[in-house]
Amino acid sequence: MAAGGTGGNSGKTYSFKVVLLGEGCVGKTSLVLRYCENKFNDKHITTLQASFLTKKLNITGKRVNLAIWDTAGQERFHALGPIYYRDSNGAILVYDITDEDSFQKVKNWVKELRKMLGNDICLCIVGNKIDLDKDRHVSVEEAESYAESVGAKHYHTSAKLNKGIEELFLDLCKRMMDTAQAEERMKGNGASQSASSRRGVQIVDDEPQATPAGGCCSSG
């Protein structure tokens, strides 16, 4: 029922919510439309599907229900941004590679999402319109290094040429599954044990993490 992968242990179905953010005219809607054209071969089409799309996927034997929420790019609708992206497992932040300004907007969104949702949300930064590469105003290196610096993954797409879209969604789903599984493992470990009351210092293992492979266990 809740977002973030619930269900029985064996035949589990993951349920993920993904918000689509980005300025108007960067091609958010086209991306989604392309994505449904590719996969939506059954005739279960609602008229709302350019704004709200659900997809049932099967990834590495696991069932995934994907709900994609489009948001309005116009600033005046941003007041209620938080109610759109709450409980999201993933966010796709789209910019237009020919429009520097739209990339700045993506940075603002990243800041807000990280602040409000922390690191639990999988971020995808998407440079759309790579068919217009000759007019590119956002360099590949800049975009990719920025994405890396905020723990996001960067993708290049062209809704027009139908490039990179399938990969984007598939990759995002896999990442969201990893996150959900990690969360489950964590919950499973929280079992409390009955014991006599005893006070003391809790054990924190502060082993230096940056030990490269091959090094022996030298503790600092």
Partner: protein, 467 residues
């Protein structure tokens, strides 16, 4: 089960009756501390968008958020002994809601047990890393690493348990102390009536709440300083009303959820998605139909300012065209010879029906239908503009949808929509929140907030549409 439902209904009715008559102090105390504390955190998500117009303080905006305790360490079981049917919300409700929101926990204070389990998680990761680094001839170390891990993890848990118990004891001691204080205050001669006893319990809760929260003190000081300021008092009352509302809602939510689990427990065969939907719809219908009017009355009181803003915008824009609220020209017919009708009229007519239903699920369906009608109309209008329009379906993204929805909301001329949607947000069932119903409701609320803002700065805001 029917009798139970009846009892629940009676109970809920009496809550609502009480709260619409006069707000009493019951509310702030009866909400578990975690819940009311997050009142402050709830403000945040809305307030962060600086140009918001809706009163950011409304805790209703995200009661499900509110229900996830901010300071879990302060959570405790009400220990006043009178367990059965107390008007105080059972802690399970919050626990249940909490699990849903478990991802929030990372940003909040953890209980000792939770801290320990995180610690152990780290220990285990380090252990695994170490194991992986062992060379084949170091295999003998594995056992010792494993044993040491088990020992460390166990210790952590034992310590955490002790801390948790100590915390619990401390809270109970405090409660006892406050209870005595209440007894002193209401020192009655002779036997204590049930009513007096209730009053004492209530007072103890107030004291307890005040220990955890700053705001009652601030209010008291403020009122003392400005004894002539009457608006201050009315503000206080409306603040208390908000808490009362949260409480009523949580109770309703809890009761209807209990009924659902009862239903599914007694008839295991019903535990499939579609049967669950049916059960929920049935329960909701029986439950909310007699209550909704009273409930909305309460929501309207709390949302008066928002409704007023909506009404002002509505009057200001009563003959606006879709273009005035930012709908692209290609998405509505320009020639006004539509004989008494106006663009998106079918969607407006549909939305007007919303207030006539009394069950949240039906209202949500009404909103979904409204949005679908908008998409259908938009397609039709687009075809009027494009000569070679191949019939593409559903090309309306949120960039177009929200301006149109704002126009439809304006034309609907029903400020009550604001409160209806605020109420719906609280009663929409978790399972629907992520789905189409949730999306449509969210869009509707976004459009309503925009309409509310129109009369202040919206007029020049809408210009950005044409740049």
């Amino acid at each position: 089960m029917l009798t139970l439902a009846e009892q629940c209904l009676e109970r809920a009715k009496s809550f609502i009756g009480k709260s619409t008559d006069a707000p009493d102090l019951l509310a702030p105390v009866s909400c578990s501390p975690g819940q009311s504390e997050s009142h402050q955190t709830v403000v945040l998500p809305v307030a962060i968008s600086a140009n918001t117009v809706s009163p950011p303080g409304t805790p209703l905006d995200t009661v499900r958020k509110a229900a996830s305790p901010t300071k879990i360490s302060h959570r405790r079981v009400l220990s006043d002994g009178s367990g059965e049917l107390s008007p105080f919300l059972p802690p399970q409700v919050f626990q249940r809601l909490q699990t849903v929101k478990s991802k929030d926990i990372s940003k909040k204070e953890l209980t000792p047990i939770e801290q320990a389990s995180r610690l152990n998680q780290k220990l285990k990761a380090n252990y695994e890393a170490r194991l992986a680094r062992l060379t084949p001839d170091q295999v003998y170390q594995k056992t010792s690493l494993t044993l040491s891990l088990q020992r460390q993890m166990m210790e952590n848990l034992i310590i955490a348990k002790a801390r948790q118990d100590a915390l619990q004891r401390k809270m109970e001691e405090r409660r006892l102390r406050l209870q005595e204080e209440a007894n002193r205050r209401f020192a009655a001669s002779g036997a204590v009536t049930a009513e007096e006893q209730e009053q004492r319990t209530l007072y103890t809760n107030v004291l307890e709440y005040e220990q955890d929260h700053e705001w009652p003190k601030l209010w008291k000081a403020n009122i003392k300083e400005n004894p002539d300021n009457l608006t201050l008092v009315s503000h206080l009352v409306s603040n208390l009303l908000r808490f009362q509302l949260i409480f009523v809602m949580c109770s309703l939510f809890y009761i209807s959820d209990q009924l659902l689990s009862l239903c599914l427990l007694s008839f295991e065969c019903l535990n499939t998605a579609s049967y669950k939907d049916l059960c929920l719809a049935g329960i909701e219908e029986a439950f909310f139909t007699p209550l909704w009017s009273a409930l909305v009355a309460l929501f309207r009181k709390v949302n008066t300012e928002r409704e007023q803003a909506f009404e002002t915008s509505m009057k200001l824009y009563h003959d606006a065209s879709p273009g005035d609220v930012g709908v692209p020209l290609k998405l509505f017919p320009q020639d006004p010879d539509m004989q008494g009708s106006y663009p998106y009229e079918s969607a407006v007519q549909e939305l007007k029906l919303l207030v006539k239903d009394y069950c949240p699920q039906k209202k949500l369906e009404c909103i979904v239908r409204t949005l679908r009608l908008i998409c259908a109309c938009a397609e039709e209008y687009r075809c009027l503009h494009e000569v070679d329009s191949s019939p593409r379906t559903a090309a309306i993204g949120a960039d177009d949808l929200l301006p149109i929805l704002s126009f439809v909301a304006l034309q609907c001329q029903c400020p009550q929509l604001v409160s209806e949607c605020a109420a719906l947000e609280e009663f929409i069932h978790e399972g629907y929140l992520i789905g189409e119903e949730g999306y449509c409701l969210t869009s509707m609320q976004s459009a309503l907030a925009y309409v509310e803002s129109l009369h202040t700065g919206g007029a020049h805001q809408s210009v950005d549409m044409f740049i």
